[in-house]
Symmetry: C2
Subunit: 596 residues, 2 copies
C-alpha cells in the first residue's frame, strides 16, 4: 500500500517540543519564531525531514504555519483545517483563523515594542517576506532571517531523501530537454532565470524524483541561461546516473554550492517572487546582481501538454478507468451488505489500481468519505476516523494514480443502497454543472475564472454553492495540482490548448453527506461548426471515462442537451472501457452505461 | 429634438488647422503635441468648447487622441472607430490602430533623439502620464506639461457652458447631501479627497448640471473633508442659486482658485489616479502635500442605489416602456410598407418619449441601424449615412431617456417584414444569453466578470461571440455609463445590492445585420428558497418592461426554463404596461405578449 492510515500526529509531544523551542529562542534572543508548513520548494507535500510544523505542533494539514512567542503559540490554518487542527494540536497551541486574521495583525497585537521575529530564509518566499514587511511598516517589529530554531532542537530528525533522480523518456515527454532548454532560454526576460519549483525542473530536464510521496518531483534548484544551458543543484549522488541523459549542456553541482554559484554569476536574473526562497533574493541582492521579477519560465510551457503527453494521459486514463470500473462493480456488489469500512474501500481501490501493473504511486491520499465524512472536503481516513460504509449513505471517493504516462484524478459519488433524502436533487445539480464545463466552448483569452460560474449556476439557482475551486491544473506524470491554469474565481490565466484541468463541482451538507463529481479535461482547439463565424474557439476533451451513478440522477432535472451529453458520455465509456474489463465488471459496466 | 443628424465633421478644415498648430509648436519649441478627446473631467461627452480633437482633426468618436509632429500627424482610435475615422479625417492625419500600437512605441519610432513632447496637464490623468513616462523610460524623449497649443490657435472657440446647476430633491435622491457627506468623509483613507468626476460631485451634493449634452452632470471640482464639509469649485454664477440647498458645510469657490486652494491645504489627500488631472497631482506634490491613492470615494456608494433611487428607476422605466410600446406598435404598422428611414425612426421614437412630458434629454444618441448598419456597434445615423428601413431587414434600436427619476437604456431588435436568413437562430441565441443573466442567482463576492460567460455561452456553442461587454453600470438620473460595476471580462468589482446594470448581449454579422437585446437590471438580495442553504444570495430585478420580437424567436431552441422566463416576462410586461397605453398600442401589446 502507498496510502497509510496512521494519525501521524502526537499532540502529547507538542508541549515538551514547544518548551525546547522557547529555550532555543531565549538563547538566540528572539521574541517570535515562524514555523511554516512549507519547505524550500513550496510544494503541497514535504519530506519527513521537512515536516517541521507537524513535528512541533502535531498539525498535519497541507497549509498553515505556527508562530511561537515566549508566552503564547498560535497555529494559523484556513477554512479546510479548522476542525482538524483542534483534534491534532495540544492546548498550548491556539488555532487562529487564517487568512481572516493576518500574520502581521496578529504580530502587532502580540509582540512588545521592538519585538524581534526570526524566520528561516529558505522556507519563506521573497514575495511573502516583502508583503509581510510592507504590512509591518510603521511598527517597531523587526523581521530577520536566521538559523532555523526547530532544526536546532529536532534531535531525531529523519534523513533528507536521497533516492537518485531518473530520466523521463522522450517517448513520454514528447520533447527532448535540449529542445525545451533552447526555447525556454530564448524566451527569458533576463540573461538567466532561477528555478526553484521541482516540477519546473522535472519538466525542463525530463527527469523525475522520489524525494517526496505522491508527486514524482526532484528536490533540486536550477539556473537556466539564455543559451539553453542549465546549472542543476542537487544532493550528492542524486544525478550521478543521469550524465548521459543530461548531456554536456546541463552542469550538475552540489546543492550546497547553489547560493555561492549564483552570487558569482552575472545579471540580470529572472526570479519568480511567489516561489523564490527569500535567501536566494537576499544572495542576489548582496552580490549586486540585477533582478527581474517574472513568472517561472517553465510554468506555462509545462502546463500546455504536447501531443505525446496528451496521448500518454489518454492511455493512463483508460487504464485507470478500467481499475475504477472494476472497483465500482466490486463496491456495488459488496457494500450494500454492510461490513465495509472506509479503509477497506481505500485499500481495495488501490489494489485495483496496482493490478494494472503500472501504478507508481497514488497521486494523492484517496479521499473516501462515507455519509457525513463526505462533507469534509479534504477528508483523509485514519484508523481513528475510519467509519463503516453504511447502506443508506453516500460514499464520496476522490482518488488518482501516478502512471509513467500520466497522472489521474477522479471523483465519483456512489449511493450505497437507498440514497439519503435530497441526495438525488443535489447530485443532479452538481452533475449539470460538471456537464456545463465539459460542454463549454469559448474563444481564446477566456480564463478559468470566466467559466467557473457555469459549474455553479445549477447550484446557485437552488441557493447553494461549494467552497472550493471548480478545477485545478494537473501535470503529466507530475504534480496532481499544478499551475498556472485552473477554474476558479481566483484564476485569470487564459486557457490554452493542451492544458489539463480537473472539472469537479460539489455540494456538501455538513453532518449529512458530500457530493463531488470530477473528470479531467484537456483544452483543445474546437472542431469546425457549419455556419459558424471565423473565430478560433477552444473546447475541452474529456480524459476520464467512468460512469456516473445513475441511481443519483433525476433525468427530469436535465435539459435535453445535458441528457444528450450524458448518454453520449456513457456510450463512449462503454465503447472505450468494455474491451479492458470482463466478467462481473463488464456486466456492471454495461448496466451502468445504459441510456438514460 | 435633442438628437441631431449633422455629420459634425469638416475634414477640409483639418489641413489649415494642422498647419496653424505646427506654427504654434515651432514657436513654442516643441516636437510633438498631444490632443486627446477628453476634457478635464474624463467623461464620455465633452462640451463644444472642449471638443479639441474633433475641431482639429474632424474625428468625432468618443475616445481617441491625435499626436502632431512637424512632419506627420496620427489619430489613434480603437476598434469601434476604425471605419469612421477614415471618413472623418483628411489625408494629413494618419489613423493608427490603438491600443495595438501604443503611444509610447509610436513616439519612440517617430521622434528624434531628445524630442520634446508637450501635453496639456488638465486633459491627461496622473495615472496616464505616469504610465506613459514609465513606458518612455530609457529613451531621451522629454514629456512636459504646458499651455494647450490648440487653444492658442482656436480663435472661434465656443464659450464654456454656463447654465446654472440645479438641486436634486431628496425625494429623488433618497438621502440628503448632509448624510452623504458625513458618511463619505468618515470613510476616507486620508484627511480629504479630491473629486474631479462630475457624477461623483453630482451624487454627493445632490445637484445636477447642464454643462454637456446627454449626461446631467455639473462641471466642477471638489474637495471633501473627513468632517463632511466640502469645497466646491465651479464657474462663477453656476452655484449662486444653490446657497440654501448646499447649506453652510459646502463652500463654493471660483473654479479658477481650485489649484491655489488645495495647495494651501494640508494632507494627506486621497486622489483617484485614473481620473485626476495631472496638474492636480503636480500641484499637490509641489506644495509638499502627502498623497494617498485610492478609489473615488463616491464611486461605489453612488453605484449602490438606495430604495428611493430604485423606486424612481422603476417609475422611469415604466414610463419609458409605454413610450417604447407605442413606438414599436407604430413601427410595426408603418415600416413594412417601406418609405421610412433611420432618421424618421429616431425622430418618431424621441417624439414618443417627449410625449411622456417628462423627458429631459435622451440618455445617449439613439443607435438606429437598419440592415448592415445594425452590425456597426456604435452607429449614429447622420444625414449622410441615413438608410431606408427596408422590409426584409432587421432594425436595431438602442436608445434611452433621461428622466428626473431615472435614466433608461434599452435595445430591441425588430424584424421588418420577413427577417433575413439565420436571423431567427442568432436572435434566439442572443435572447438565451440575455435570459441567463436575467435569471442569474449568485453569492456575495461574484463580479460581473464571473457572469459574463453566462450571456455568451449560447453564442459560443455556435462558434460566435460579440466584441463588447455584456453590461455597463447605469446612473440614477446621471450618466448612462457609470462605474465601477459592469458585466465583462474586465470587470472584477463584486456586485452589490442596488447596482443598476445593462444586460445586452448581441450578435453582429458585418455587412448583413446586427442583433442586440438589452434590459436594465438591478442587483438585489435574492428571495428565500425553500430547502436552500443559509447562504446570502443575490439576484437581479428586471427594470425594463418591453416585449421581445416574437417573430425572431425559435421556441424550439429554448429550454423549458428559458421559455418559462420569457412567458412570465411578457405576462408581467402586459400587466405593468397595458394600463399605460391604449388603442392600437394596447392591441399591439396584447398580441406581442401572448404566451409562446
Amino acid at each position: 500500500m502507498f496510502q497509510t492510515f496512521g494519525s501521524e500526529t502526537h499532540p502529547d509531544q507538542g508541549p515538551p517540543r514547544l518548551a525546547a523551542l522557547r529555550r532555543a529562542m531565549k538563547t538566540a534572543g528572539v521574541d517570535a519564531f515562524l514555523v511554516p508548513r512549507q519547505d524550500a520548494w513550496q510544494g503541497e507535500y514535504v519530506a519527513p525531514a521537512d515536516a517541521r510544523l507537524a513535528w512541533l505542533t502535531g498539525f498535519t494539514g497541507s497549509a498553515g504555519f505556527a508562530v511561537v512567542l515566549p508566552d503564547q503559540a498560535a497555529v494559523f490554518v484556513d477554512g479546510r483545517y479548522r476542525v482538524q487542527v483542534r483534534d491534532q494540536v495540544a492546548d498550548v497551541f491556539k488555532p487562529v483563523d487564517w487568512p481572516e486574521t493576518s500574520l502581521a495583525d496578529w504580530l502587532r497585537a502580540a509582540l512588545p515594542s521592538g519585538g524581534k521575529v526570526r524566520f528561516d530564509p529558505w522556507l519563506h518566499t521573497s514575495g511573502a517576506v516583502k508583503e509581510l514587511r510592507e504590512k509591518l511598516n510603521g511598527t517597531t517589529i523587526e523581521l530577520s532571517p536566521g538559523e532555523n530554531l526547530v532544526d536546532q532542537i529536532w534531535t531525531d530528525r529523519p534523513a533528507r531523501p536521497d533516492a537518485p533522480f531518473v530520466s523521463y523518456a522522450t517517448a513520454y515527454a514528447g520533447e527532448t530537454h535540449d529542445a525545451k532548454r533552447a526555447r525556454i532560454g530564448a524566451a527569458l526576460k533576463a540573461d538567466s532565470a532561477i528555478l526553484t519549483s521541482p516540477d519546473s525542473i522535472a519538466w525542463l530536464l525530463n527527469i523525475r524524483g522520489r524525494d517526496i510521496e505522491r508527486n514524482p518531483v526532484p528536490q533540486a534548484f536550477a539556473q537556466v541561461h539564455r543559451d539553453g544551458t542549465v546549472d542543476l543543484f542537487a544532493l550528492a549522488g542524486k544525478a550521478d546516473a543521469l550524465a548521459d541523459h543530461l548531456g554536456s549542456e546541463v552542469h550538475v553541482h552540489q546543492i550546497g554550492s547553489f547560493l555561492d554559484h549564483i552570487a558569482k554569476g552575472s545579471g540580470p536574473v529572472q526570479v519568480h517572487a511567489a516561489t523564490l526562497p527569500y535567501i536566494v533574493q537576499e544572495t542576489l541582492e548582496a552580490a549586486g546582481i540585477d533582478i527581474v521579477e517574472g513568472p517561472d519560465p517553465c510554468a506555462l510551457p509545462k502546463a500546455c501538454k504536447n501531443e505525446t503527453e496528451l496521448a500518454g494521459s489518454r492511455a493512463a486514463h483508460l487504464r485507470d478507468a478500467a481499475a475504477m470500473v472494476r472497483f465500482l462493480a466490486w463496491l456495488d456488489a459488496t457494500a450494500p451488505h454492510g461490513g465495509l469500512t472506509e479503509i477497506d474501500v481505500v485499500k481495495r481501490l488501490e489494489g485495483f489500481r496496482r493490478e494494472t501493473n503500472a501504478l507508481l504511486d497514488v497521486s494523492f491520499e484517496t479521499i473516501c468519505g462515507a455519509g457525513a465524512h463526505g462533507a469534509i472536503v479534504h477528508y483523509r481516513v485514519t484508523e481513528e476516523t475510519n467509519a463503516p460504509v453504511t447502506p443508506g449513505a453516500l460514499l464520496l471517493v476522490d482518488s488518482g494514480g501516478q502512471y509513467l504516462d500520466g497522472t489521474t484524478d477522479i471523483t465519483r459519488t456512489i449511493a450505497i443502497g437507498t440514497p439519503p433524502k435530497d441526495a438525488i436533487t443535489s447530485y443532479t445539480a452538481v452533475l449539470r454543472g460538471m456537464i456545463a464545463v465539459s460542454m463549454a466552448r469559448f474563444p481564446k483569452g477566456v480564463a478559468g475564472r470566466d467559466l467557473d460560474a457555469l459549474a455553479r449556476t445549477p447550484l446557485w439557482q437552488m441557493g447553494r454553492d461549494y467552497d472550493h475551486g471548480t478545477g485545478h491544473g494537473v501535470g503529466a506524470y507530475l504534480s496532481v495540482h499544478e499551475g498556472p491554469q485552473g477554474i476558479s474565481r481566483r484564476n485569470m490565466v487564459p486557457l490554452e490548448p493542451g492544458m489539463i484541468l480537473s472539472n469537479e463541482p460539489g455540494y456538501y451538507r455538513e453532518g449529512e453527506f458530500g457530493i463531488r463529481i470530477e473528470n479531467l479535461i484537456a483544452t483543445k482547439v474546437a472542431g469546425d461548426i457549419t455556419g459558424a463565424d471565423d473565430r478560433p474557439m477552444y473546447d475541452f476533451e474529456t480524459l476520464t471515462w467512468v460512469p456516473m451513478d445513475r441511481r443519483l440522477i433525476d433525468v427530469s432535472q436535465l435539459t435535453s442537451t445535458e441528457r444528450g451529453w450524458l448518454n453520449a458520455y456513457h456510450a463512449e465509456v462503454l465503447d472505450k472501457v468494455s474491451p479492458l474489463v470482463d466478467g462481473d465488471a463488464l456486466d456492471w459496466l454495461q448496466a451502468a452505461c445504459t441510456e438514460l
